[in-house]
C-alpha cells in the first residue's frame, strides 16, 4: 500500500513536472516599423502574419501557450535595441521577428546574440546579417540585397537583355547594390554601358533618366530603394521609357510598391521576390486568409517570411518539448534538417543563418492583363535555391569554418 502511494505520488509529481514544462508561455516579439517607410512592407501586417503562424502551427493544442508582442522601433536603432533588451530581460521574450531597416536589425542582432535568444529576420535586407555580422542565434529568412540584385541581374541577362545602365543612389547601400548586380551582369556576358550616381534622397530624376535613355541600354537598373525607386519609376513612365522599348529593373522592390504606383505606371518592371500570393494553391490560400484580416491587402514577401519563420520556430520549440530558453540550441535544431514550408517550399538554413529557398523573377502586368485588385505580377523565372543566395564562403561570416 505504501508502495502504491509512493508510486502514485511519483506519478503525480511527474505529470505536474511535465505539465509545468508544457505550461510555459512562448513569447515572440514582432519588432517592426509600424508608422513610416516600411510599415506597409512589414508593420501591422507582420503581426497578423505572426498570429496566423501561431494558429497554424497547432502548438497551442499541444499545451504550449504562445503570446505575440509587438512594438514600433520608429526606425531608430537605439530604440529598437532598447525595446528588445527590455523584452528579453523583463517580459522574457524568447524570439524577435521581422525588423526592417538594416541599422535596427544589426543592433537587435547583437542584443539577441548576447542574451542567447532567437532572431527571425524577415524585413531587413542587409546581407551583412549573414556575413560579417552573422550570429548563431539568427536566421535571415526571406531575402537579402545580394539575392535581389544578383537574382534580378542574372535572370534578366539570361533572358537576352544584355546591355545595362545603372541609376545608383549615391551612398554605401546603392553602391553595394550596383556592384553586386554589375558583377553578375558581366559574368553572364552582359555589358554595363554606364552608371550615374544620383544624390540620395532624390525627387527629380529627369536628367538621370535622360542619360539612361540616351545610353540606349536595354535595361535600366534602379540601384536604390523605397521612395527613390518609386520616384524613379513614376518619372520613367512620364518619359515613356518602357514604352520606348527599354526595361526597368528594380533591385529592391516590394509588391506594395507596385500597389501604390498602379499598373499603368509600373508595367513591365522586373524584380525579384521570394513570395507572390498568386503562385500556387498554398500561397493563394494564405494570401486570401491574410487579406481578410489585414484590410484586403495581400501579404508582401516580408510578411510571408514572418509567417513562415515563426511557424518553423514554433514547430521546432514544440519538438523540443517547449524549451525555448536556450536560443542557440533552438537555432541549431532549426538548422539541423530541411523545413517543408507551405509558402517557401523546401527551406534549409545554413550555418551562417541564411535560409535558402527558391526566388522568383517577376514582371509587372499590363493593366489589360490584370483581372482585379492585387493581380499584379507574372512570374518570369524561378531562381533555384542553390543559385539564389550568396555562396557560403563569400560572406565572411566567422561561423563558417574553412
Amino acid at each position: 500500500m505504501k508502495r502504491f502511494f509512493a508510486l502514485a505520488a511519483l506519478a503525480v509529481a511527474l505529470t505536474c513536472g511535465s505539465a509545468q514544462a508544457q505550461n510555459k508561455t512562448i513569447k515572440i516579439g514582432v519588432l517592426s516599423d509600424m508608422s513610416s517607410l516600411y510599415a506597409a512592407i512589414g508593420g501591422p501586417g507582420s503581426v497578423v502574419a505572426a498570429k496566423m503562424a501561431v494558429e497554424d502551427s497547432g502548438v497551442e493544442k499541444k499545451g504550449l501557450k504562445v503570446e505575440i508582442l509587438s512594438a514600433d522601433h520608429q526606425n531608430k536603432p537605439d530604440i529598437g535595441a532598447s525595446i528588445v533588451r527590455h523584452w528579453i530581460d523583463v517580459d522574457h521574450v524568447d524570439a524577435v521577428a521581422d525588423t526592417p531597416t538594416s541599422s535596427v536589425a544589426l543592433a537587435v542582432n547583437q542584443v539577441v546574440k548576447e542574451k542567447n535568444k532567437v532572431f527571425l529576420i524577415s524585413g531587413a535586407g542587409s546581407s551583412d546579417l549573414t556575413g560579417k555580422a552573422c550570429s548563431p542565434n539568427s536566421v535571415h529568412w526571406t531575402y537579402d540585397t545580394w539575392a535581389l540584385a544578383h537574382g534580378t541581374g542574372k535572370a534578366i541577362v539570361e533572358s537576352g537583355k544584355k546591355t545595362w545602365f545603372f541609376l545608383t543612389a549615391d551612398y554605401a547601400f546603392g553602391h553595394a547594390l550596383e556592384r553586386d548586380t554589375a558583377a553578375v551582369v558581366k559574368a553572364n556576358g552582359g555589358k554595363v554601358l554606364g552608371t550615374v550616381n544620383v544624390p540620395f534622397p532624390a525627387t527629380d530624376f529627369s536628367s538621370f533618366l535622360l542619360q539612361a535613355q540616351a545610353s540606349k541600354a536595354q535595361v535600366i537598373g534602379l540601384a536604390n530603394a523605397g521612395g527613390d525607386t518609386i520616384n524613379a519609376i513614376k518619372q520613367a513612365h512620364e518619359f515613356g521609357i518602357v514604352k520606348g522599348g527599354q526595361s526597368l529593373a528594380g533591385l529592391l522592390v516590394f509588391v506594395t510598391d507596385v500597389h501604390s504606383l498602379g499598373l499603368e505606371t509600373s508595367q513591365g518592371l522586373l524584380f525579384t521576390t521570394a513570395y507572390y500570393w498568386d503562385r500556387n494553391d498554398a500561397s493563394r490560400n494564405f494570401g486570401k486568409r491574410f487579406a481578410k484580416q489585414h484590410n484586403g491587402a495581400m501579404p508582401t514577401m516580408v510578411q510571408a517570411g514572418v509567417y513562415s519563420s515563426v511557424l518553423a520556430y514554433l514547430k521546432t520549440v514544440a519538438a523540443m518539448g517547449g524549451k525555448a530558453d536556450d536560443g542557440k540550441a533552438v537555432m541549431d535544431k532549426m538548422k539541423s534538417k530541411p523545413i517543408d514550408d507551405p509558402l517557401f517550399g523546401k527551406v534549409t538554413i545554413r550555418q551562417d543563418g541564411r535560409a535558402i529557398h527558391d526566388m522568383y523573377l517577376v514582371e509587372v502586368k499590363k493593366p489589360s492583363e490584370s483581372k482585379g485588385a492585387w493581380d499584379y505580377l507574372n512570374i518570369r523565372a524561378t531562381i533555384p535555391a542553390k543559385e539564389a543566395f550568396r555562396p557560403l564562403n563569400e560572406g565572411g561570416c566567422p561561423l563558417v569554418k574553412g
Binding site: 508608422s35 512594438a71 514600433d72 520608429q74 530604440i79 532598447s82 527590455h86 547583437q110 555580422a133 540620395f200
Partner: protein, 323 residues
C-alpha cells in the same frame, strides 16, 4: 546689479536659492532610486538625452540663439566615440573624450560661421552645416552608412571597471550627467553667464557696455556643442552603437521639442522634457503608428496651453523665479 532688479525680500531670496538645491536633491535621489524601479538601460539613455537637451538649452535659453543643427555635435561625437572604441580599441574614457573633442572642434567651426548672423539666418546656417555633415556621414566609409557602427565594445573604465556590468555603467553615466549638469549650472550663474543673459535681453546694449558679444556668443556656442558631444559620445558607449538617426535633422528637432516641453530657459526643464519625450517613445511603441500623432498633439498642447513648459509653469505657480 542683481540686487537692484530683484524685488524679493531677503528671506524669500534664500528660499529661492534653496528651491534650486531642493530640486537638485530630488533629481539626484530619483536617479539613484530609479534603476531599482525601472529599466536601467532606458534611464542611461534618457540621461544622455537630458544632458543633450541641457546643452541645447544653454544656447537657446540663456543666449537666445536657436540652433537647428545640434544633431551635428551629438551625432558626430557618437560616431567618433563609437569608431575610436571599436576600430582603434580606445578605452571608454578616451573614446568619450575623442567624441567630445570632435564636437568641440565642429562647434568652433560652425559657431564661428553662424554667430555672424541673427535670428532665422543663424538657425538656417546651423541647419545647413548640420545637414552637410549628415550627408558626409551617409557617404563616408567609416560611419557604415545606413548600417551605422554596431557592436561597439563598452570596455573597461580606467582599465579595471568592467562596463559590461549595468550597475557600473549606470554610475558612470550618472556621474557624467551630473557633472555636465552642474557645469551648465555653474556657467549660467557665473559672471560670464550674466553677460550671456544680457546678450539675450539686448545685444546692442551689451555691446554699448563694452562687451565683445561675438566672443561671448562663440564661447557659449562651443560649450553647448561640447556638452552635446559629451552626451552623444556617452550614448554611443552605453547603447554600443552609433547611427544616422543621431546626426539627422529630426534629432535637432527632437531636442528643441524636449527643451520646449520641459521649459525653455529653466535649469531642470530640459531634463524633465527629455524624460517625458523618451518615455513617450518607449511606452507608446506598442501602439505603433500613434507615437508620432501623440507626440505632435503634446507639442501643440504645450505651445498653446503652457508655453513656459512643464518646469517653467511649475516655477511660475510656486513663484520661484528660477528652477
Amino acid at each position: 546689479m542683481e540686487r537692484v532688479v530683484d524685488p524679493l525680500t531677503e528671506s524669500e531670496s534664500t528660499l529661492r536659492a534653496q528651491s534650486g538645491r531642493i530640486a537638485f536633491a530630488i533629481m539626484v535621489a530619483a536617479l539613484i532610486v530609479a534603476p531599482f524601479m525601472t529599466y536601467p538601460l532606458f534611464l542611461m539613455q534618457a540621461m544622455c538625452f537630458a544632458l543633450f537637451a541641457c546643452a541645447f538649452n544653454l544656447l537657446i535659453g540663456y543666449v537666445g540663439l536657436l540652433s537647428f543643427g545640434h544633431a551635428l555635435y551629438f551625432g558626430w561625437a557618437s560616431y567618433l566615440s563609437a569608431y575610436s572604441a571599436k576600430a582603434w580599441g580606445l578605452p571608454p574614457a578616451l573614446a568619450i573624450l575623442t567624441g567630445t573633442a570632435t564636437a568641440a572642434v565642429c562647434g568652433l567651426v560652425a559657431g564661428a560661421l553662424a554667430i555672424r548672423r541673427q535670428g532665422i539666418y543663424f538657425a538656417m546656417i546651423t541647419l545647413a552645416l548640420a545637414q552637410m555633415m549628415y550627408f558626409f556621414a551617409v557617404q563616408a566609409q567609416f560611419t557604415g552608412g545606413e548600417d551605422g557602427i554596431q557592436a561597439v565594445p563598452r570596455g573597461k573604465l580606467f582599465g579595471f571597471v568592467n562596463l559590461q556590468n549595468e550597475a557600473a555603467m549606470y554610475i558612470v553615466v550618472l556621474v557624467i550627467f551630473l557633472a555636465g549638469f552642474l557645469l551648465i549650472y555653474r556657467i549660467i550663474h557665473s559672471p560670464f553667464g550674466e553677460v550671456l543673459k544680457a546678450i539675450r535681453e539686448n545685444e546692442t546694449r551689451a555691446i554699448s557696455l563694452g562687451y565683445k558679444t561675438e566672443r561671448y556668443k562663440l564661447l557659449a556656442f562651443v560649450l553647448s556643442a561640447t556638452l552635446a558631444g559629451l552626451a552623444g559620445a556617452t550614448k554611443a558607449i552605453v547603447l554600443q552603437l552609433a547611427s544616422l538617426t543621431d546626426v539627422n535633422w529630426p534629432m535637432s528637432g527632437e531636442v528643441v521639442l524636449m527643451t520646449l516641453v520641459g521649459g525653455l530657459g529653466t535649469i531642470f526643464g530640459p531634463v524633465v522634457g527629455a524624460f517625458v519625450i523618451l518615455v513617450m517613445q518607449y511606452k507608446l511603441a506598442p501602439l505603433g503608428e500613434w507615437v508620432l500623432v501623440i507626440q505632435g498633439a503634446i507639442f501643440v498642447a504645450c505651445v498653446l496651453l503652457f508655453r513656459r513648459g512643464i518646469i517653467g509653469e511649475l516655477a511660475n505657480r510656486l513663484r520661484i523665479r528660477e528652477l
